[in-house]
């Protein structure tokens, strides 16, 4: 799997840390089994360049951690309430950033790589309904005629 934004070590690091938040069970696949990582570029598309740079470094480092050390590290990061000075915001940032990345991929209702698995949302029975979207032809036309971006 190739990404425009993450190197191959970072991809591995994200899979491993994703499994810490989403270990899976008899009904649901773990983060790495789900294959949702293939959508990572959609998620990182509009992130600031230096955040992506930092993410690559952190996740590449995590790719070399044995899984139990990674679990321990993320457990420490998720219990940061009483840490002193800059350690608290830094560990909170790591915890929330990695949880956000893996969980957004996993719980967004996307399709798993191996589509023989039922969808995550089906198993969670999380199925909000929507009526058909309005086809707003008038707005489509107005935008076409008035937005300079359309003629770039």
């Amino acid at each position: 799997m190739k990404s425009k934004y993450l190197n191959s070590f970072a991809i591995r690091g994200l899979e491993k840390s994703g499994d810490v938040y989403i270990p899976g069970d008899k009904d649901l696949s773990s983060f790495s089994e789900s294959g949702f990582i293939k959508y990572i570029d959609r998620q990182l598309e509009n992130m600031e360049k230096d955040d992506i740079f930092g993410l690559n470094i952190l996740l590449s480092l995590f790719s070399f951690f044995p899984q139990n050390l990674l679990v321990w590290s993320l457990k420490m990061a998720s219990n940061s309430e009483n840490y002193p000075g800059f350690i608290k915001p830094t560990t909170r940032l790591i915890n929330m950033g990695l949880k956000g990345l893996s969980c957004s991929l996993y719980y967004s209702g996307l399709e798993e790589l191996d589509s023989s698995h039922p969808r995550v949302m089906d198993i969670m029975k999380w199925n909000p309904k929507s009526l058909d979207s309005v086809d707003d032809k008038e707005l489509t036309e107005l935008i076409k005629n008035n937005d300079f971006n359309e003629s770039l």
Partner: protein, 469 residues
């Protein structure tokens, strides 16, 4: 940096007015100005999203409809700031709750700014004008879901007062199966009264020109104001206008003025967010908080108001809920797998301790925003009330969210009589600038403790009259 002034024959480069930011305030101001026959260009960093192209998956709405891929954390990583990025701004993805300020909120504004029109009598005509153009209804109680029932019954059991929410919507067709949690990424049936529906459409018909996916980087004051920015292909453009309206929100305006070397030391200061904290309660039956209206009730309790907090029944899609649940491994996974069994209530506090917006290396947004002891006490009082509500309704346990959320981003360019302590004057003009104006959320001098959109809209309506005087 050199900005080339490119004038393609397909577009003009000078306008009577340029509006930076196409959100709640920018839409209303642009519509007001084109209606009076002015040539207006709206420059907006985000895209045009409407019913034909709202993203279907949270991963896409997060990355495309918000700055920096979803959430920006404050410097202590305690509050996640959510900053919309699209034509229509917050009104496309917000809860749609539209409340007039009460006397307490206006008194707070008046005391802080010294401005006389901050009272319900002077503001009344402007609220009326906005409300004739926007359908505001009580969220129909017959469709309230179990999350809302728990809120209402818990209020009753504890002797608190709550009432149905006032929301900008026409008919959400919940009876036909529409679940409004979807409309956090845009309302597909055009019921929610986003400013795209209520103002932008009409402005486009009257000749508003827009440049979407265009980020303004710098403004240069002068007899004609110059605006420099960049399109989605990273190509640089310059435009000029007789008058400029800043409507890029609390963070957007503050950053823009700082990056343009405006020297007023008040820029970026007095930043408020009504920090919101969600508490989740597990029940031993399915709540299915995604059904029907997303939100139905709010606290309407004078006691809460005087103590500086309010409560609303609320929920969010799974991807957003997942970051709020604490812990790792099975502890976290269990909550997500059993999300249907959770109810949620949020406390929003009327924050008193101002934050500050700064620009860091690589143009990074840095926001310092902490709760002081007063704010912390308000939060704790809200937590106590929520826990009492949940336990009175049979909750098995209550979980506090991992971090606070900042949705109402206000201040940074506070309005005030006195140029020594504010950025914008009572005519909505940047102090000492002849032709640069602002009337959006950034001018709030403090936190009102009430949903801000309707008042932003009313102030923007009022501002248009002043701009064209």
């Amino acid at each position: 940096m050199m900005w080339s002034c490119i004038n393609l024959n397909l577009m003009q480069d000078h306008f009577n007015f340029i509006v930076i930011g196409g959100g709640v305030s920018g839409s209303i101001i642009a519509e007001g100005l084109v209606s009076k026959g002015h040539s207006v260009l709206m420059l907006e960093a985000g895209k045009f999203f409407y019913s034909n192209n709202y993203p279907k998956f949270d991963i896409d709405s997060n990355s495309q409809m918000y700055w920096n891929g979803g959430v920006e954390l404050t410097s202590d990583a305690e509050i996640g700031l959510v900053r919309p990025k699209m034509i229509g701004g917050g009104s496309i993805i917000n809860g749609g709750l539209l409340d007039r300020f009460d006397d307490l909120a206006f008194e707070g504004f008046k005391d802080e700014s010294g401005i006389g029109f901050f009272n319900n009598t002077d503001m009344l005509p402007w609220f009326d004008k906005v409300e004739t153009n926007t359908s505001i209804v009580k969220v129909p109680e017959q469709f309230a879901n179990k999350n809302a029932d728990i809120f209402r019954n818990g209020f009753k059991a504890n002797g608190f007062t709550c009432n149905p929410l006032d929301r900008g919507q026409t008919d959400c067709r919940n009876g036909e199966g529409m679940d409004c949690i979807k409309c956090l990424a845009g309302c597909p049936i055009n019921s929610k009264q986003s400013t795209m529906i209520t103002y932008v459409r009409s402005a486009l018909k009257k000749g508003l020109k827009v440049f979407s996916e265009f980020e303004v980087k710098k403004v240069e004051p002068g007899k004609k104001v110059k605006i420099h920015g960049q399109d989605r292909l990273d190509k640089k453009w310059s435009f000029s206008a007789d008058k400029l309206v800043l409507a890029s929100g609390a963070i957007g305006n503050s950053k823009l003025l700082m990056n343009s070397n405006f020297k007023n030391p008040n820029i970026g200061k007095r930043f408020y967010t009504h920090p919101q904290y969600m508490l989740m309660a597990e029940f031993d039956y399915d709540i299915d908080a995604f059904k029907g209206p997303l939100q139905s009730y709010k606290s309407d309790d004078l006691n809460f108001r005087n103590k500086g907090f309010k409560l609303e029944n609320v929920f969010a899609p799974p991807a957003a809920m997942s970051v709020l649940f604490k812990g790792i491994q099975q502890e976290h996974f269990y909550c997500m797998k059993n999300l249907r069994r959770f109810a949620s209530i949020e406390v929003a506090i009327r924050d008193t301790n101002p934050g500050e917006i700064k620009v860091g290396k690589y143009n990074k947004t840095i926001v310092h925003k902490e709760l002081d002891s007063v704010d912390q006490r308000r939060k704790n009082l809200g937590y106590d009330a929520i826990k009492n509500i949940f336990y009175s309704q049979g909750a098995k346990r209550v979980i506090e969210g991992e971090f606070g959320i900042g949705l109402h981003l206000m201040g940074g360019c506070a309005i005030g009589e006195n140029g020594e302590s504010s950025v914008v004057d009572p005519e909505f003009r940047i102090h000492d600038e002849r032709n640069i104006f602002c009337a959006d959320s950034s001018i709030f001098p403090n936190a009102p403790g009430i949903n801000p959109s309707l008042t932003i809209m009313a102030l923007s309506k009022m501002a248009v009259e002043k701009f064209i005087k």
